[in-house]
């Protein structure tokens, strides 16, 4: 049987559409693996901001002789700065995801062809 079957082209089109949809939305496992890889770098961001704040506070304490009040205050500021860094990085990720979803939208195709074979 060498002649092309009548619904061969629609099937391939359907396959391509399904593939594009599948690539548009990664599996939960991929999402988790990606979050793990990205998360370690964001965790360092939070820790370093706290440490920088504490170090600045310690330096100011030594300079003004007000140990340990400035250390505590700057520690809190560092914590807030760390969370700010984190929120910024996460919203950057969010923007990328919404952009990817917008790009993936028009691949949905009408696939209810009623051809019989």
């Amino acid at each position: 049987m060498t002649e092309p079957r009548p619904n061969e082209l629609p099937f391939e089109a359907r396959l391509a559409a399904a593939r594009a949809r599948a690539e548009g939305s990664p599996s939960p496992k991929q999402v988790a693996a990606n979050a793990f890889a990205q998360g370690t770098r964001l965790a360092i961001e939070l820790v370093v901001a706290v440490l920088v704040g504490a170090a600045i506070g310690y330096g100011l304490d030594v300079f003004f002789g007000t140990s340990p009040f400035l250390l505590l205050v700057m520690f809190m500021f560092g914590l807030v700065a760390g969370f700010l860094n984190l929120v910024r990085a996460v919203s950057y990720e969010q923007a990328k995801i919404t952009q990817a979803e917008l790009d993936a939208l028009p691949v949905v195709e009408d696939d209810d062809d009623d051809e019989k074979w």
Partner: protein, 75 residues
């Protein structure tokens, strides 16, 4: 107690915090997969929240690790 022994004991106790962070990370990813496998289409849109929760939990683990390092090498 010997001062060096107390130092090592303290560092070991600080390392418990890393294990606690590991429990937290396991909970976060386990609960994420629990929800994501019920509704895989929504999984990708929840990645930032997953990222945020994981980063905060992991940061607390790194703080515990830092305390252990400070006890071992600085104090």
């Amino acid at each position: 107690m010997d001062a060096a022994a107390a130092q090592l004991l303290g560092a070991g106790m600080a390392a418990i915090g890393i294990g606690m962070a590991a429990i937290g990370v396991g909970l976060i990813f386990g609960l994420f997969l629990l929800g994501a496998l019920r509704n895989p289409a929504a999984a990708a849109s929840q990645q930032p929240q997953l990222l945020f929760g994981f980063a905060v939990t992991e940061a607390l683990g790194i703080f515990a690790f830092l305390v252990a390092l400070i006890l071992l090498f600085v104090v």
